[in-house]
Structure formats: structure tokens, C-alpha cells
């Protein structure tokens, strides 16, 4: 596998494919002019590969499907009946708001040429991008859309931290600001050719960019917002485990686009990424189920699908670098680590990160980021670490990246939230919380059966 590719999912493949085109031209320098022409012509025509494009178009649909309705149902089923619609509403409005902001400015900040810290404004409103603009072997509009779906699901993940008590407007405002202040820069650092990319941080599909940023910010949100009334003693069980499972299943399927799509091509790398992604999800699910079975005597549906999400979040950064066995091992670790992380955060620290965003996504994503250093190494069946990196040095780089991302996410989120809390307030009234946000905030009821 091309070393450069290892640098990151986003830009690497683009570079790689350009290189291929060039390469093809060089190889044949010895041939007759006629043949040269014969070969260059198609090569140029091949610039945009319809097969790779078809797969990324599909992946874009799959990743959007993860948020709408996947994640929305996964979260919606976990809350109480009287708040189910508000959760769906959160995910839906975030998707809409982020999409527009992504066009206006965020895409440019993440992927336009700029400093090592943040991209420039040249691509604001997709400036200079037309139907013929290419990003590697695919049209840039397709790359733009694919990346947008990542930008959508990341703040949507945070929804799990504040259900049943957050004020609608401020919540939406937070997500908008957060996209620009936290997501876009971090995305640039790692996938936009920024300083962490230069350093050789490996994050194939978003262990840091997506899960660490969302997970840590979710923890901050839960702390600043405070616990739900009655937490933790008068907990209500998920109002619809079936809905949770439906959402989870959609997440699993959609994740194929998330990870295998991050190869930005329909090739062997995509195939291997899909394979390890699937195996990790399966193994983590079985692990979580086993723990519940042993500890409580009853393996639960909500439990096993939580394990699945843990497995998927954990393999995400590693999905382009490890082999099948690495995928299985990572899945096992994911189930184990995240299960106990949930116990720690919720039952030991008593933080009401209501739907365990940090314990599952944050902890999972970081675990995956660190494990890449080992299972990405050919000696452990991996496809290769960053250029010239050993397990140790790679681990060091991964740690630096993790710390940088966590610090920035936590600090920025804290500031934004405190500001919003002072200005407009983050939390609904006790009465609204009791009534439930569906009726209080949105004037609807979940089930008029």
C-alpha cells in the first residue's frame, strides 16, 4: 500500500491516484509516440473513474442514512416516550443546519489550502468547483458531499449527551458554532493536510476527527448541562428497544460507506476496510453480550447493539490499516473497554452523558487510534504504518494527535456552552422537562395510538 495513503483517508487517496496517472505516463516513455498518445488519451479520460465515483456516491447515501434515520432512531428508542420526537428533531435539524454551513464555509476551512491549522476561504460556497473539478479519481462535488455526511453525523452524535432536558435553540446554535470552531479545524489537521497529517497521524475514517471530538464534547455538554431529574435513581428504561435495534442495524450497514467509502475508491482497500469493519462490529457485539450474560444472566438487545456501536467506533480509525484478525481483536477490546467505560462514567462518576456518547464513541475512537500503531504494522497483519514509523513512534504520534484533539474539543466546547448558558440558558424549565420536550418544545406527541 502506498505510504502516502497511510497519512490519511481524505487527501491521501487523492494524491495517490494523481500519482498513478502520472506513473502510467512515465512507464511508457520508451514507447512510440503513437502509442504514447494512445495511452495518454484514455489515461486522461480515466482521470475521473466512474467505478470509484459510483461507490462514493453510494457511500454518501449510506452515511447520510446513518444519521437520518439511523442514529436518530438509535437515540430515539433509548429515551422516554415523551421525548422521542425531540431526539429525532435534534438529529434532523442538525443535519439541515450543518449541510448549509458546510457549503457556506466549513468545507473550505477543512479542505481548502491554508495553514497547517485551518484551511482558507477559497472554497467557501464551493468557489471554483464545477462539474469537471476532480478530487483524485472522483468529482470534487462527490468528495464534498461525502465529507459533508461526516460533518453531519459528528455533532449529531453529541445529541446523546443532552436529551430530555436541553433547550432547542441553544442546542442548535451550539452545533453550528461547534462545527466551525471544532470540527472543521480538526478535520483540516488530519484530513486536510494539516499539522497532524504532516506528523503522520493515522486516522482512516475518523477516530479522532469524528468520535473523539464528538465524545469529549458530549461529556463536557453533559457536565455543563447537568443531570436529568431523577438521575440516576429513577432511571426509565429505553421506551423502545426495537427502535434502538433498527437504528443500530442502519448504523452498521451505513458504516460500510463510512469506512469502506473512506478509501475514496472501489478497490481492494475498500474491500479490506469493509471486512475489518464488519468483523469488529460482530466481535464487539458478542463480547458485550457475553459480559452481560455472565454478569446479569440476561443478554439484552440494547446491550448487544451498544457493543456493536463500540466495535464500529473503535475500528473506524483503523479500518484502512489493519487486517482481518486485527479487526477481530480490535472488536474484542472495544466491547470490553467500552462496557466498563459506561459503568465508570455513568455509575461511578455519575455524569449523565445520557446515551453514553463519550463512553462508547469517545473511548472507542481513542482506543482505535492507539491500537492502529500495533495492528497496522505488517508484523501483526496490518497494511502498514505511516512513512518510516515504528510501532513505538507511531504510538507516540497517535498519542500526540489524541491529546491535541481532546484538549481543543474540550476547551472550545466548554467556552461555547458557558457563553450560551449565560446568554440564553441551555436547559428547559422543570415543568417542560416533566411534560417532556415533545409536547413542551415541539407541540407533538410521539404516539397517538
Amino acid at each position: 500500500m502506498n505510504r502516502v495513503e497511510a497519512v490519511s483517508g481524505g487527501i491521501a487517496v487523492r494524491k495517490l491516484l494523481v500519482r498513478r496517472a502520472v506513473g502510467r505516463v512515465l512507464e511508457i516513455s520508451a514507447m512510440s509516440l503513437a502509442v504514447l498518445v494512445a495511452l495518454v488519451a484514455p489515461a486522461a479520460a480515466q482521470e475521473i473513474d466512474s467505478g470509484h465515483t459510483a461507490w462514493i456516491l453510494t457511500s454518501t447515501a449510506l452515511v447520510l442514512f446513518m444519521t437520518l434515520p439511523g442514529l436518530a432512531l438509535f437515540y430515539g428508542g433509548l429515551v422516554r416516550t415523551r421525548n422521542v420526537l425531540s431526539v429525532l428533531m435534534h438529529c434532523f435539524t442538525i443535519a439541515c443546519l450543518i449541510s448549509v454551513l458546510w457549503l457556506v464555509i466549513a468545507y473550505s476551512l477543512a479542505f481548502a489550502d491554508g495553514t497547517g491549522w485551518v484551511g482558507g476561504f477559497s472554497k467557501a460556497f464551493l468557489g471554483g468547483v464545477g462539474t469537471d473539478s476532480a478530487s483524485g479519481a472522483i468529482p470534487e462535488t462527490v468528495f464534498f458531499m461525502f465529507q459533508m455526511t461526516f460533518a453531519i453525523i459528528t455533532p449529531a452524535l453529541i445529541v446523546g449527551a443532552f436529551p430530555e432536558r436541553v433547550k432547542f435553540g441553544p442546542m442548535l446554535t451550539f452545533c453550528g458554532i461547534w462545527l466551525i470552531v471544532v470540527y472543521a479545524p480538526v478535520c483540516h489537521w488530519i484530513w486536510g493536510g494539516g499539522w497532524l497529517a504532516e506528523m503522520g497521524v493515522l486516522d482512516f475514517a475518523g477516530g479522532l476527527v469524528v468520535h473523539a471530538t464528538a465524545g469529549s464534547s458530549a461529556l463536557v455538554f453533559a457536565i455543563v448541562l447537568g443531570r436529568r431529574r431523577g438521575f440516576p435513581n429513577e432511571l426509565s428504561p429505553p421506551h423502545s428497544p426495537g427502535l434502538v435495534m433498527i437504528g443500530a442495524a442502519m448504523l452498521w450497514v451505513g458504516w460500510f460507506g463510512f469506512n469502506a467509502g473512506s478509501a475514496l475508491a472501489a478497490d481492494g482497500n475498500a474491500g479490506m476496510a469493509m471486512t475489518v469493519t464488519h468483523l469488529s462490529a460482530a466481535m464487539a457485539s458478542l463480547t458485550w453480550m457475553a459480559i452481560e450474560w455472565i454478569r446479569f444472566g440476561k443478554p439484552s438487545l440494547v446491550g448487544i447493539v451498544t457493543g456493536m456501536v463500540a466495535g464500529l467506533a473503535t475500528i473506524t480509525p483503523a479500518s484502512g490499516f489493519v487486517g482481518p484478525i486485527g479487526g477481530v481483536v480490535i472488536g474484542f477490546v472495544a466491547g470490553l473497554v467500552c462496557f466498563y467505560a459506561v459503568q465508570l462514567v455513568k455509575h461511578a462518576l455519575k455524569v449523565d452523558d445520557s446515551l453514553d456518547v463519550f463512553a462508547v464513541h469517545g473511548v472507542g475512537g481513542i482506543t482505535g487510534i492507539l491500537l492502529v500503531s500495533f495492528f497496522g504494522d505488517p508484523s501483526l497483519g496490518g497494511l502498514g504504518l505511516a512513512e518510516g514509523k515504528t510501532m513505538a513512534s507511531q504510538l507516540g504520534v497517535q498519542a500526540v494527535g489524541t491529546i491535541a484533539v481532546l484538549v481543543w474539543s474540550v476547551v472550545a466546547s466548554f467556552v461555547i456552552l458557558k457563553a450560551l448558558d449565560l446568554i440564553v440558558g441551555l436547559r428547559v424549565s422543570e415543568e417542560d422537562e416533566t411534560t417532556g420536550l415533545d409536547l413542551a418544545t415541539h407541540g407533538e406527541r410521539g404516539y397517538n395510538i
Binding site: F296, G303, T306, Q343, K346, H347
Partner: protein
């Protein structure tokens, strides 16, 4: 006339209904309720958090019968609803001053 209110285990409904029908009872009304009593609830566990469920699903049967047969109704009902296990439920008997059939306006026992 008497109103017999019985709280029973859900899966006993069919037995109760047919038993009462045999006794000549023409109609009854059933509602889904949750019961709290000696029969302890259970705990559900979500992601390691224990959730104490105090209430158990029960059915509340309401049947109005003439005073003459109320004792047989109660007895029949009891036998049909019994499993012998804790949580079988209760039967309460109340006085009914008046009964009317909405369709015809018939009153008293004719309304049943």
C-alpha cells in the same frame, strides 16, 4: 345489581371469559392496568443500570350482574383466574344503583 371488579393475570382472560359466558353472563369490560402487590416486580438492566419495575401488567375485568348470581359469578371467576401462585389478583364487589342499556334505554337487570 352488583359490579364485580377483578384484577387478574393477563393470560387468564380467555379462561375467565368463557367461564363467565357459560354462567350466562352476557357481557363484560376489560381494561389493561398495572398492579402493585405482594408479587414483587422485577429489575430490568440497561447498560449495567438497574431499573426497578414495581408494577406488573394485569387485566381489570368489570362485570355487572344481578345480585342473585353474584356469588356464583365471583366463585366461577376465582376458579377460572386462579393459578395458585402469588399475583393471581383480587375480586371486589360493589353495589350498583342503576344500569341502562344505551341502545334501547332498558333499565335495571334488563340492561345487562
Amino acid at each position: 345489581m352488583k359490579m364485580v371488579i377483578a384484577v387478574i393475570k393477563p393470560f387468564k382472560l380467555e379462561d375467565v371469559r368463557s367461564a363467565l359466558t357459560e354462567l350466562g353472563v352476557q357481557g363484560l369490560t376489560v381494561g389493561e392496568v398495572r398492579g402493585f402487590g405482594r408479587q414483587k416486580g422485577h429489575t430490568e438492566i440497561y447498560r449495567g443500570a438497574e431499573y426497578e419495575v414495581h408494577f406488573l401488567p394485569k387485566l381489570r375485568i368489570e362485570v355487572v350482574v344481578s345480585t342473585t348470581i353474584v356469588d356464583r359469578v365471583v366463585e366461577t371467576l376465582r376458579e377460572a383466574a386462579q393459578t395458585g401462585e402469588i399475583g393471581d389478583g383480587k375480586i371486589f364487589v360493589l353495589d350498583v344503583g342503576q344500569a341502562v342499556r344505551i341502545r334501547t334505554g332498558e333499565q335495571g337487570e334488563d340492561a345487562l
